[in-house]
Symmetry: C2
Subunit: 210 residues, 2 copies
């Protein structure tokens, strides 16, 4: 299964990675807006036109790396063991992500990851693009809740929106802490505590504090 398809497929995959790698390296170095597509194409040794065959927009050169995680929450809910509550499953998954230093939780201090996340966070266009991922993740989670948690229409959407909002907030907070120089291990206890607090607010409501 490692090399499904023939040479063609594998070569395409390598080209795709080469383009994206070259792009991100340049963007991190000089800023997203200060590097033209043409320069990326030159660095990756492909034509401008080919670059656009792989990535429909400049932003996609960066954000495609997050595409897999778009529906992660929905998958967790759909794949949870029988009888397990969705919220509990999501909580466990997020806490496990922190433990594993999953970049998606923001709690990862590998320099390349830090640089990439900072790039995305501090570039207007890129940040806006990420919000669309968030939106899609919300949609997917909403559908998952409707399909597997016996919850109906207005409630599913509302719950999904709340859950995704909390997870993103937690992730961004972690990113900011790491970007400020804290190591992942040093930030871990606080991050865990915040995550538990976030999921507690989700489960028990804001009534207690507001």
């Amino acid at each position: 299964m490692d090399q499904r398809g023939g040479l063609r497929e594998r070569k395409k995959e390598r080209t795709r990675a080469a383009i994206s790698d070259a792009a991100i390296a340049l963007f991190v170095e000089e800023g997203f807006d200060d590097v033209s597509i043409t320069r990326v194409a030159e660095a990756a040794e492909v034509s401008r036109r080919t670059l656009f065959a792989y990535f429909p927009t400049k932003e996609d050169l960066v954000v495609h790396r997050f595409a897999d995680h778009e529906t992660e929450s929905a998958r967790v809910v759909r794949g949870r063991p029988e009888g397990r509550a969705p919220l509990a499953a999501l909580r466990a998954h997020f806490l496990d992500g922190l433990r594993r230093r999953d970049p998606i939780t923001g709690l990862n201090d590998v320099p390349e990851i830090i640089a990439l996340l900072r790039l995305v966070r501090t570039t207007r266009g890129l940040a806006a693009r990420m919000l669309r991922f968030k939106q899609n993740g919300e949609q997917a989670l909403s559908a998952a809740l409707r399909d597997t948690a016996g919850v109906t229409d207005p409630t599913a959407g509302l719950a999904a929106a709340q859950i995704i909002a909390v997870q993103w907030t937690l992730a961004i907070d972690n990113q900011v802490a790491i970007a400020a120089g804290t190591t992942a291990s040093a930030a871990y206890p606080t991050a865990t505590k915040s995550a538990k607090q976030g999921f507690a607010l989700l489960a028990d409501g804001l009534g207690g504090v507001l």
Copy 2:
């Protein structure tokens, strides 16, 4: 106070409105992506360059109309009467918005409003731009909660994110119902019920349903 400043100010304001009106009319008619800035400038009888003096980007021609509402939730929290809980104030404000058919709640069936909201909702770039407003609203609300509700750092951000997420979900649901042809009055009871459900989930948590 109606005409602060002189002729200059008022003329600028009229020009600004003329440009925006022309733009939105064209966009609604033919689609955001199918109308060039040049055509908008011609319709508004100004030069292309002047248009950009008033609106920094094409998207701003449309979304500037929502700019005032960006920090609305934060203002409601800051301006609430002594002793009133933030969440209760926001709930009352939203329900009142539904009663007043405030466009921001999505429950408004004036044709121009429907068309404008549909335009924003169905145009990729415009929708993405609106998500930035959402983000900023979240920030502002978070700060308001920290400043006036005696709630500290991770919690304020988490609560704000949840609240804004719920309000947006409610508004979008209403927009979709209206766009499907329901009148505002016909949708009002359901919209109210959903809003109450949304704020109940916020206050009491998802623990009961998930």
